[in-house]
Amino acid sequence: MRTAFIRTLVDLARNDGRIFLLVGDLGYTVVEPFAEEFPDRFVNVGVAEQNLTGIATGLALCDKVVFTYSIGNFPTLRCLEQIRNDVCFHNANVKVVAVGGGLCYGPLGMTHHATEDLAMLRSLPGMTVIAPGDPVEAALATQAVARRSGPCYLRLAKAGDPIVHQEVPDFRVGEAIRVRDGSDLTLIAIGGMLHSAVEAGEELGLLGVSARVLSMHTLKPLDVEAVQRAAHETAAVITLEEHSIIGGLGSAVAEALAAGNSAVAFRRMGIGDSFCHQAGSHDYLRRLHSLTVPQIVEEALRLTVGRETVRVSG
């Protein structure tokens, strides 16, 4: 995703002299194409994320469109107050970009697990929150946030993420993409979980369960209509996120379901209310948090079989 991001950003910057890229001393072998082509619009501010965000706001208040870029929690949590007071309160044209969203940099330990960022940034007034599901969406999301006025958060996975979309989808901020049709249950995925959601959907199909898969690339503003339609048209909804189940996609969808008085079987699959104290690969950590394809399938079967029982007995 990060490769798609930087390629797209370079393209955008060729046509828009307002675009700046600021990094917090990270982005080695990623951001160089931008830095080389636009040296006057690239700044490595050093290891200083509060300053990164404040400077970005100052530039934006002078009519620049500023992307801040770093990994994991550094461009978000480390400078959360700058994002709130400086970027959001001034409705500044700053686009915060984090790579390594979720557990992508899991082997690097707890400090590099970006697993509460969506909740925190979603709560900030005026902030658009987008976590694309694959490199194709990442490129489209980059274009979208550059066009969109005001604060945006773009949460990317890493390099070499699997491609889900074989064709370029219609990407609109705040509109879920239906990646797979289905009528029994709906899997709603955000960010890097999209590929697993689609795989789980295929496996469920082989087992006779028709699974709809939505890419909820935009967490805020949430596509409430797509959520409520899923609750209306399918018997169960499962949210999938590499993020705490507190405050992220699962919470946002739960809010939408509650607001729609939707009676639907519902599960949030994500990270529980705990830190991980172990070493582990990305795959290992996903397994630990029940986010692998077989675990998703198992949960989906449990939920849909339960619903069928209810239907039969009802």
Partner: protein, 280 residues
């Protein structure tokens, strides 16, 4: 409009600050009074701003990083004609745009909202960088408190500005020696403060922040050194101008009652009837 000379403008700022604090029983009088003379020179003779065109792209930018001193800035903006002086009567009232930490929304002349310390210098760095990249002539002035020199983020920005040769950036430290819980020297000593800024790469000067000639001379002399940002350490007195408020921590929090306001205005040489004292 004709700008009043510095002492007159400074007295008007102080008068407004005291009256605003009295009306709404609001705090932070001492911090507003300590920088009143600095603001009088900045707005009265240095800043290239146009109250009729607050969005003029080439205007100088002034950022109040010590956002709690907002009453003094609202006062000077009103005195300069950025908005009607009557607005000051709404300060800190329900629904007013004049909030008790400086807020830019719907307030002409306020460049940025602050209130949490340690934000302003980074904002100023961004604006100064934009000015450099765009080849615009404007300067960026950031007013800091001594207390916010405790914030790490202040020093992140202090490292950045000289590295990027932001000679269009000026940091002014209102060094009134008292922070929220006591004397700076006792809470967290900043000395040698000017040397710290110099060590970070700034051209720094120390002045008496209540001596109009020194303030003007310093501000007219920027950049002090070609290619480097300028830092003015302005030695000031918290509560300056009102004897019983000077150097008193309590006036970081207190607001004057009617009798204290009357005495304060007498000391400033202002008739207590003018401006009229509205009831609480």
């Amino acid at each position: 409009m004709r700008v009043p000379h510095y002492p007159t403008l400074a007295t008007r700022i102080r008068t407004q600050v005291l009256t605003m604090s009295y009306r709404t029983r609001s705090s932070h009088v001492g911090t507003s009074l300590s920088m009143a003379d600095l603001l009088a020179v900045l707005y009265g003779g240095i800043l290239r701003v146009d109250p009729a065109r607050p969005d003029w792209p080439d205007r100088d930018r002034f950022i109040l990083s010590k956002g709690h001193g907002c009453a003094a800035v609202y006062a000077v903006l009103a005195e300069m004609g950025f908005f009607p002086k009557e607005w000051l009567e709404s300060y800190d009232r329900d629904g007013s745009p004049l909030v008790r930490h400086i807020t830019h929304t719907n307030v002409p002349g306020v460049e940025a909202s602050t209130g949490s310390l340690g934000h302003g210098l980074a904002l100023g760095c961004g604006m100064a960088l934009a000015g450099k990249r765009d080849g615009r002539p404007y300067r960026v002035f950031v007013m800091l408190s001594d207390g916010e020199c405790d914030e790490g983020s202040t020093w992140e920005a202090a490292l950045f500005a000289p590295h990027h040769r932001l000679c269009n950036l000026v940091a002014i430290v209102d060094y009134n020696k008292i922070q929220a819980f006591g004397r700076v020297k006792e809470v967290l000593d900043l000395e040698p403060l000017a040397d710290k800024w110099r060590a970070f790469g700034w051209a720094a000067r120390e002045i008496d922040g209540h001596d109009f000639a020194q303030i003007e001379d310093a501000l007219q002399g920027i950049p002090f050194d070609a290619g480097r940002p300028s830092c003015i350490i302005a030695h000031t007195v918290k509560g300056k101008g009102v004897s019983f408020m000077e150097n008193e921590l309590a006036w970081h929090y207190k607001n004057p009652d009617a009798e204290e306001l009357r005495r304060a205005l007498v000391e400033l040489g202002v008739s207590p009837c003018e401006p009229p004292l509205s009831a609480h």
